[in-house]
């Protein structure tokens, strides 16, 4: 992966006004992945929307990283249940 395809961590931090330690804690909890190239740390652009969401939860709602981790699991469950419910609703249409 070339340098152009990833965003240096410090640029992310200055753009979103967040601390590097916050991103590193997210990585420790497996919520985001940091890529290492020599001594530099980078974020993949695909991870940026997720990072934005986590920073809203952390800075705006005062939810700590373990809380975000727990929320993430619950949100994933909600997403699956919503999808399942939509599929079942449409499957019911087939038999109606």
């Amino acid at each position: 992966m070339s340098d152009q395809e990833v965003i240096p961590l410090e640029i992310c931090c200055s753009r979103y006004h967040i601390e590097q330690t916050f991103i590193q804690t997210l990585e420790e909890y497996g919520l985001i992945s940091i890529q290492y190239q020599e001594t530099k740390q980078f974020i993949h652009p695909d991870d940026v929307p997720q990072l934005e969401q986590y920073s809203r939860l952390y800075y705006e709602l005062n939810i700590n990283v373990p809380g975000i981790d727990a929320l993430q699991h619950l949100l994933e469950k909600i997403r699956k249940l919503q999808q399942e419910s939509t599929e079942l609703r449409h499957r019911l249409n087939i038999y109606e």
Partner: protein, 295 residues
């Protein structure tokens, strides 16, 4: 335009302190925040109101105006004109990081009439909201890869829909959501496919089910029938003698295309519905009668 009771929205009394407002806002924001209520339009609406209430009540100057004119909002226009004449444009930002605008930037008519459009804007960059859209596709169209042009907020977006998309499947179009505020990135567009049922073929996963009528004589003596396939083709099927009503036959690989696996398809299950002859002639009745005696 109805009067909006911001105190009621934040569930606080009129004499609530700044600290009470902050606490009430944090509590409700955690409950209704869009990040925590995906696809919940009601929660999102409620959150906008909570945000708006906080925007007004956490700013001492706005709160003062709201307390003064809020109930009698019909006079807010005159107030607004007077305010503009005086070039009284103080739009102080609250120091409270919780008083943020959560990417929506949408305010009620009530808010805009009272404080002017744009009163809620802040200098922080916010990513635009994600849009959710549904795309209804007939089953037969979902079986073929094709291009489709969608119009989202007056912009045309051309997308290629691969064959085999599932009902309720969601695809993300990055950057096609609402524009960001203050230079923030645009949101994404999420498209949920809704596959409309077909009168002839029912789909379950990658398999298709269809029912064909079979004449009694073919069911009893055996023969051939022609089955239509989803892609418009025809297949000749041999029917065994003494085939029972409801018998199913599987046609391997004639079902629904598998998503992103070109050349692979599920199976087609054909169920026979045996038709009992009607309006029998005298001769036919006699022959059936004879048959019944041979039992």
């Amino acid at each position: 335009m109805a009067f909006t009771d911001y105190y009621k929205i934040l569930e606080i009394p009129k004499n609530a302190s700044a600290e009470d407002i902050k606490k009430a806002y944090r509590k409700l924001a955690r409950k209704f925040h869009p990040d925590l209520n995906p696809k919940d339009k009601e929660a999102n609406k409620k959150f906008q109101l909570i945000n708006e209430a906080n925007e007004v009540l956490s700013d001492p100057e706005k709160r003062k105006k709201y307390d003064q004119y809020g109930e009698d909002w019909a006079h807010a226009d005159q107030f607004e004109k007077a305010r503009q004449n005086q070039q009284h444009t103080s739009r102080q930002q609250s120091e409270d990081p919780f008083a943020g605008n959560f990417g929506g930037g949408e305010y009620s008519d009530f808010f805009e009439q009272l404080f002017g459009a744009g009163a809620g804007r802040r200098s922080t960059k916010f990513r635009g909201q994600d849009y959710q859209a549904e795309l209804h596709l007939p089953l037969r169209d979902a079986a073929k890869a094709h291009q489709q042009t969608l119009t989202v907020n007056e912009k045309n977006i051309r997308i290629t829909i691969p064959a085999g998309v599932e009902d309720a499947q969601v695809i993300k179009l990055k950057g096609h959501g609402a524009p960001g505020a203050n230079g923030g990135a645009s949101g994404d567009l999420y498209i949920t496919f809704v596959i409309t049922p077909d009168p002839v073929f029912k789909r379950s996963g990658n398999d298709l089910y269809t029912t064909i009528n079979l004449e009694l004589y073919i069911a009893v003596l055996g023969g051939e029938v022609t089955v239509d396939t989803l892609d418009g083709g025809k297949i000749k099927l041999k029917v065994k003698p003494e085939t029972q009503n409801g018998t199913k036959t599987r046609l391997k690989g004639k079902g629904f295309p598998v998503y992103k696996q070109e050349g692979t398809s599920g199976d087609l299950y054909v169920t026979y519905n045996i038709l009992i002859p009607q309006n029998l002639t005298q001769k036919q009745k006699e022959l059936f009668s004879e048959l019944s005696k041979l039992k």
